[in-house]
Amino acid sequence: MFNEAKISKEVVRLSQFRTRQTGVPLKDELARHLVQEAIYSADPESGLLLDEDAAYSSNDSLVSAFGVNDVMVNGKRIDVRAVEEDGRITIARELIGTGYMTAGTMAVSLDQNEGGKVIAFIPAAQWQAADREATQPTLSLKVVAASEFDLVKTIEALPLAPASTPHTAAASTDLMKFMADKTDMPIDAQRKLVNGTLANNQSWSQLREVVSMWSKGKVQAVLADGATWNSRVEKIAEMAAPKFKRLAKEDIERIVAKLGESYGGQPESPAFRKALISTLTKEELTKLVSGATLKKASDVADAVLSGRAVSEAVKEIARNPVAVQIAGHIKRNRDKMGEFVDATTQEILGAFPQMSMQAVYSTHKATPAGHSLEPVNEALKMLYAGELAKNARDLDDELSNL
């Protein structure tokens, strides 16, 4: 039977690649190839000759914009559609009643996309009848498989495609409107635009530009990239959240998303990682300290992030070695990275016995024992800032392996 055929793996691969770009269903593309294969395997004496150049389906832009899927055989233009699993075939309404749809549609039943057979022919008149009742932008018809469908005889009986009549080429703005949002465009205007574009191949380059911006394939590619980016943002936030306990996960996500606008979408980028860790550390610090101490704590964090040891950075910036020493002892007596709280007099007094040297330590704000809390608390905050930055540095490794 000439209405049955196999589709080679190579053709399937080419079809997959093409439909990814055009955004049209793979099944329809394969169905058209199946009809072509069936024609190739027909007896050469039947004289069925394909004119691939004359088929609109050879043009990616026309396929993407209007969903054309035709073969041109012996001057006859035949639309081809794959029968869905529910036994129906579907076509965009704007194609009905145009120069494209003068003959009708070959309905193809595919078998796991490896092959299949042409099972019926839907004449253009049947589509037009369905169109008169239609309310949706697409038309769908139930296909009844012909008991002994003869592809060659069916094609022989079809009318020749009419010679292209002059139509006004569609304006670029109308094409753009059609591609992006045709809901407000009356169906007759859509058909006029389809006819105008198909008949004027000079306008195809213009169509190509519009399609490259607004095709279904383009929207799908953007959404797939959107999913990738959203996933990266979430993963980064999940990694960072345990290290920045004062920041809500949503805040971290917001920061990550914003940084992508400056450094691109790859967290493996050293510039991205550096900016992320620095920003998150500073955001966390603003929740911990304020005013002049914030500036000093940020400086400590920067120094630690650029590779310095916490104690060294704090000593250099605090400029009060005794306060730093006391703060260090207090910190060691507490949990490693517990929540920050101001030092108590008891903690300061408790720190002295652990110090190697009793400091002569007094300021204007003396404790009952004659010692000030303010510089100690400041040094303590800086130590926390340093520890925070040190922990954040670990995030760098994790991000590089995202």
Partner: protein
Amino acid sequence: MVTGSAELDTVLELAPEWAQLVRNFAQESNARSAAEFLSKVGAKAIYLKALSLGDAQSRFVHMLQAHYYQPMLQKMLSANQNLRRFLSQRRVGADEMKGQVVSLSVDITQKLIATLNKQLSQKEEDGFKVLLPAYVQRSVHNAVIDYIRQETTWERQTLQDMNLDPQQEDPRTAVADDVGYTPEHKALSREQVTQLNELRRHLESMLKEPGAPVEALTVVDCIFGMGLTPHSVSGEEMTMRECCDKLKIQAETMARRIARCQVLLDKGLDLVRRKIYKDLPGIAEAWQRGLNVNIASRRELAQQLGLTEGEVDRCIKGRQFSGTEELIERGVITRQRLPELTSKGMVAAFVPVDLNSATTRDLIDIVGMPKEKAIRIVAERPFQKAEELVERKILTKDELANYTKRGAVARNRPADAKRLDLNRASQQDLEQCGIDARNAEVIVKTRPFLTWSEVEEFLGAEASCWHALRQKFFLGLSPG
């Protein structure tokens, strides 16, 4: 010259009884081509004429080769969409394409002539069929498919060799970019990220609008794995079947459920497209196909972007750049050059280069390693972490820091190690994992797949092996 055409005179010389036909043809159509005349005469008449010739038969066949088969084949091959698409995917230029057509037409002609001679020698009654255009058309189709098959096999064998000689032309520049052969897969530029953040905000607010078509948007969310609603997880795309189950889309049969899901998906995609058209016009520009300066070859930088030799040197030496502005900041190009280069498609998106899977060429061209180091790394991998290269004295600490800055990472994915790559697993592996023989065969035959939706398109949503597929396999982005 009798007819005013050397070609037609040659025909007349061998078939003088066609003189009247030739004259009528020349007058009617004002045509001078022997190919058109022979087509008009028809296959049967040509074959009978050839049979009737004695010693002159070989000259007649030779004339057919030059004036019948060759022009017909060149026309058919030039119009062959499979060939055109295959070559254009490989960025073959127009001249090279013409050369390929000529070369293929010579091959096919020789085969057809051999068949014709065989028919003539055996005086086969239906031997004229070899001359029928429909027969030639079929031969062209088969020859093109054979050609594509051979080329694809060569590409796969070549690309699976991870130790490409960096001195040779990179074969990836001449193969289809339908699978993520190169490390730029999913590299997002800062312009794209800006647009994606905007898109997310818009989609979130669309979902909250009163009376919004939430169902259609949720299907889009699930199918693409956008993570916008509680039904989806970002980065985890769903198949139609999974989406139907997740959203409890009801219908009498699975086929109907899928059909309903498809309608919702189409509706959702139209809504997104309309939103982009109205509120996010920057997306169109940000997703124009561009050339990423971080991975482009020297030739692409010079020919496609028109960078000067000095600019190309500075660009390759300074890799990688987080954005096009950085090329100015770091003195690769001047500010005046930026608009022109952007209009030619220049983008700068950082690409991670995995030390455990990158080609030698990528390590040299993108990361900037000397050839010897790159070869050693490829020979001694895998590495659990980048620091292992220092521990194993392959790189110094400073070298590692420099290469890391330029994009080197050491990916170690234990989760994937437990699963098999569906794009590479053998049929036996597939069957051992519980995939029935029929579906395993389809998978091996039709891969590689980029998404699970593509797998679903081939296996059908009702395939019993879905659970095993999703649990035991991942889709590796490599030539299968």
